[in-house]
Symmetry: C2
Subunit: 366 residues, 2 copies
């Protein structure tokens, strides 16, 4: 099957670019002697998780338990669930997974740690635990070394828990406006978690993993003292948000949305068959087009605004030959959100469709 045979809208993944992106980030990790544990929230499918592991990744990261279930069922055997697991239904589901894979879970509260212990007891398998630390993002995570120490002691002394280490996510790196700011953010990210790791180690608490680094900050964090693991996700595809941050080259963005022009209401306006139900509303002002979607090599096509099923294009004079039925491939602003809206992705090499993959962990919010 060829690309042109796919009806639109369709999400395409360029395998050459994916392989290059996977190789490049693995090289960053290898060069600095840290583990790479990619966040699977970007691709949400075992096929690409396997490509990452075959290239050298130590395992994967997921957000939700439902994503872990899909990955374990597909044979992925080392998974960090980087999210607080709360409530009996989820604890029982976690207990069912524990015998089948090396599962590590994040916690930032005593209640969360005791819930994990309950899962361990149910399964008869102690749960590996990472203490989540806030390094300035203000989302989840303990806010001080004292809290981390207290929680680490509880975990280390509990028969159904095993202290594995620390993790942090510094989402503020997505707001950096220059490489210098990104480097400073990464320094705070790595510095916070490494300092707490040193405190834990000084108290004789086992700290195997000290994990930090998202796509923009990972190349900085990987080389910083005390860090043992990076967890970038978006790098596998790249998107306009990462291009804006200088973290990904536009010509190495692997994920695009193939669309068709369905209306030409005026000479300088065209409408494509994809709106926020395909691209999501994750948009922002950007020097690359409007930051909502961009057709590489065709700066005269501007994706101005969207409704749920419509994408409104403004056309420069040289693009006004665009006709109903013509197709266009857009690099989206936020690839993770696009994948979460797609039931299937087409994996292409050149113009050939090698696979049509189900997004098997799509929409797993539980």
């Amino acid at each position: 099957m060829h690309k042109q045979d796919l009806d639109t809208p369709f999400v395409l993944v360029d395998l050459d670019a994916v392989e290059l992106n996977i190789r490049t980030m693995q090289d960053v990790a290898d060069r600095h002697g840290v583990s790479l544990r990619p966040h699977a929230k970007t691709h949400k499918m075992s096929e690409i998780a396997r490509m990452q592991i075959e290239a050298g990744a130590a395992g994967i990261t997921v957000a939700k338990l439902g994503e872990a279930e899909v990955m374990v069922a597909a044979g992925i055997s080392d998974i960090l669930i980087a999210y607080p697991i709360v409530g009996l239904p989820k604890i029982e589901r976690l207990a069912k997974l524990l015998p089948f894979a090396r599962i590590t879970a994040a916690v930032d509260s005593e209640a969360g740690a005791l819930a994990l212990a309950q899962a361990g007891a149910l399964a008869g398998v102690p749960v590996r635990v990472r203490i989540e630390v806030d390094s300035g993002f203000g989302r989840v995570g303990v806010g001080s070394a004292e809290e981390a120490l207290k929680l680490a002691r509880l975990v280390a002394n509990h028969p159904w828990l095993r202290l594995d280490g620390l993790m942090t996510f510094a989402g503020q790196s997505y707001d950096a406006t220059s490489r210098e700011e990104l480097a400073r953010t990464a320094e705070r990210e790595a510095g916070t978690v490494a300092a707490i790791a040193a405190r834990l180690a000084a108290e004789g608490l086992p700290v195997l993993a000290v994990s930090a680094g998202s796509t923009p900050s990972a190349p900085y964090v990987a080389g910083m003292p005390g860090i043992t693991e990076i967890r970038p996700g978006t790098y596998v595809f790249g998107d306009l948000m990462q291009v804006k941050l200088g973290a990904h080259a536009l010509d190495r963005c692997a994920l695009t949305v193939k669309t068709t022009v369905v209306s030409r209401p005026a000479s300088d306006r065209a409408v494509i068959d994809a709106g926020t139900k395909v691209f999501s509303s994750d948009g922002e002002d950007s020097p690359i087009g409007t930051g909502r979607g961009y057709v590489p090599g065709r700066p005269g096509i501007t994706l101005e605004w969207m409704t749920e099923e419509h994408g409104m294009l403004r056309l420069s004079p040289e693009e006004q030959g665009l006709a109903i039925g013509d197709t266009l491939e857009f690099v989206p602003n936020h690839c993770c959100a696009v994948v979460n809206l797609a039931d299937r992705l087409a994996a292409v090499r050149g113009t050939r469709v090698e696979h049509v993959w189900e997004v098997s962990a799509r929409g797993k919010v539980h």
Copy 2:
């Protein structure tokens, strides 16, 4: 099953409120002697479409062909596809539907009309056509009476097409900041399409349907001269966007997202297990909370910001007793986007779960 047995995040629909919302809009249509053809993009499921039809709706509206396929398979027999259908794969799919339901399709171009005719010829069933007119939104639709006339003549004279009338969507009504502005917008919406309908009728062209009106504008448009049909969608649930517009009362919002507190990183901060993967990023500044999500009766809980899986709450002093494991029900900003992200909805009456419905037309972007 009771509401408290549903693991979170879960989208809940209150059946009493849905029934009241359906009744209220049907009364608007009946009072003015116009047809109601609700847009099914809001609920994306045949169960609620059937409730609307049983209450008196003439049929339903959908955006995409894939939604029409789901609805026809579920026995819904009168459907307007309010979207340009472009490309051979879709024309062939349309041809397969035509024998099984009364399908009407929107067009705004000669190419679109000829494509529909192709579907009619394939099926041996002429396709009912509505000319889509732009009444100021600047999305799709012909921009002048002359263009509408030209297209209407082509349709009326084609053996595989049947001219059914006109339709318009005035999305600018969602930006109205007062009832006066909404009334003015509605007047332009109805006036534009009614004037073109009169031109067509004067030329002897058949105009059975003159269709306008979304949730905010429908109650205005329904009473305006020349209008025969309204097509609101969001009214069935309501959301913060409609509350802000004065088009829906907060206490009649039927759709909520049940969430659980999973982290309490500081006394005035809590994190829930739902972010943009549940609520979408369709947000806007609003006098109701932040316009991202709101817990009725608890103004001290502010959904400040979200990432994909996390919702960050700011808590006023009286809400700081909130603990990990507590549940909260949020009215979302944009219910259509929330439904498109959910595999299932729980239909509840009081605290009892009467049904768990699959969102069978979810994600149908083709």
